[in-house]
């Protein structure tokens, strides 16, 4: 029943001329891209009105593989680029897909401030606990005791709990899944695409070539099996209290889903207050409604 003339349903959404992608065998990134595209499709948004921004790293390659308007920024600068994009063209649904190193180390400040301002964008952070592309250096998410190229005796540094950081910075939507929860991932991405405000999703993903090799974790398949045993779904969990470690539970779920005024709404309110007394107000207001 093999029919190589048939088309895979994802082919419409991927740049097939660039395939095969560079991701290693049994890396979770391909699954996450599939889920992302399905989520966007299920949200019913015009794909011409979706833009994807990514930074550098294995996950940064996503921007080059999906058939949407996309931009591959310099290291760590995906969020400032996406903020500008969203503010200049507010019809767009802007998604940032990048790795833990790009978003939380090099671009850490951008992330917390975009969350604080509640800029309307969807940030999908693929957490594989290490810098994969550059050869396995310690990342801000590497668990205590894990081995990496720059931690040959085990990591001494306390890692970030990504959902905790995003929640503390003020994100209006915070969720965590693993690459194994691809159906739930699709639903969450659909929900995020429709939601206003800063949405943060952490996807725990296997890095078979670097993290698993350094830590004797086997292949990506072994890691997915491990996720199956370790992950627990608890939507009520407090994002501050669910750090990830080498062992122990991976608490998944949608932890925060609330509505706060977005950055643009606050800007508008500010402008209105300021100019309401001037005679040009009408002109400005009309121009606003045209934009």
């Amino acid at each position: 029943m093999q029919n190589n003339a048939a088309h895979h349903p994802m082919e419409k959404y991927l740049r097939m001329d660039r395939m095969p992608h560079i991701w290693c065998s049994s890396c979770g990134l391909g699954t996450i891209v599939n889920s992302f595209m399905k989520g966007i499709k299920n949200a019913g948004i015009d794909t011409n009105k979706v833009a994807v921004v990514s930074g550098i790293g294995c996950t940064g390659r996503v921007a080059g593989y999906i058939k949407l308007d996309s931009y591959h920024t310099t290291h760590g600068r995906a969020i400032p680029f996406a903020s500008g994009l969203k503010l200049a063209n507010r019809d767009l649904t802007v998604a940032v897909i990048s790795g833990d190193g790009d978003l939380f180390a090099i671009g850490g400040n951008h992330l917390i401030h975009a969350a604080r301002r509640n800029v309307d964008m969807n940030v999908i952070c693929v957490n594989n606990f290490i810098y994969g592309m550059t050869g396995g250096q310690n990342a801000p998410t590497t668990p205590l005791g894990a081995y990496s190229s720059t931690a040959p005796y085990g990591n001494y540094e306390q890692p970030f709990n990504l959902v905790g950081v995003a929640a503390a910075a003020g994100a209006s939507y915070v969720a965590r899944w693993t690459a194994l929860h691809f159906h739930r991932l699709t639903d969450t991405i659909k929900e995020m695409a429709k939601k206003k405000g800063f949405c943060f999703l952490e996807v725990v993903s296997p890095c078979s070539t670097v993290f698993a090799r350094k830590n004797k974790g086997g292949t990506g398949l072994d890691i997915l099996r491990e996720y199956k045993d370790r992950s627990i779904i608890d939507h009520e969990a407090d994002p501050q209290k669910i750090p990830l470690g080498m062992n122990g539970e991976i608490i998944c779920g949608v932890f925060i889903n609330e509505d706060r005024p977005t950055f643009w709404e606050n800007v508008q309110k500010g402008i209105e207050k300021r100019v309401v007394k001037t005679k040009n107000y009408k002109v400005i207001k009309n121009r606003e409604s045209v934009v």
Binding site: M1, Q2, N3, N4, A6, H8, P9, M10, E11, L14, M19, P20, H21, W23, C24, S25, S26, C27, G28, L29, G30, T31, V33, N34, S35, K38, F182, H183, T186, T219, G220, L221, L224, R225
Partner: protein, 87 residues
């Protein structure tokens, strides 16, 4: 023994059947589809593909229920299922 009515008075629920398509040369042999197929339809084949991996092969065609899990989990878009109408 003959029943005057089928259990619950209903026909047997219709089950979909899927027809599986594999792009062998795209596969990177990760085994996700083989491991997580709920009906164990797939297994590694003995042949090598262009990249040197063992792509999956279908061992129980009839058992596939068109759940689409293999299609969703494949990181390389190498496998997909089409619904076949009747069973």
């Amino acid at each position: 023994m003959k029943y005057w009515e089928k259990p619950f008075g209903r026909e047997k629920p219709q089950v979909f059947q899927g027809s599986i398509n594999i792009f062998k040369d795209r596969c990177k042999g990760c085994g996700f589809c083989i491991e997580f197929c709920p009906n164990n339809v797939l297994d590694f084949s003995n042949e090598f593909n262009k990249k040197g991996y063992h792509p999956p092969e279908i061992i129980f065609t009839k058992k596939c229920t068109y759940c689409g899990l293999c299609e969703s989990i494949c990181p390389d878009s190498a496998i997909f299922v089409i619904r076949e109408e009747v069973k």
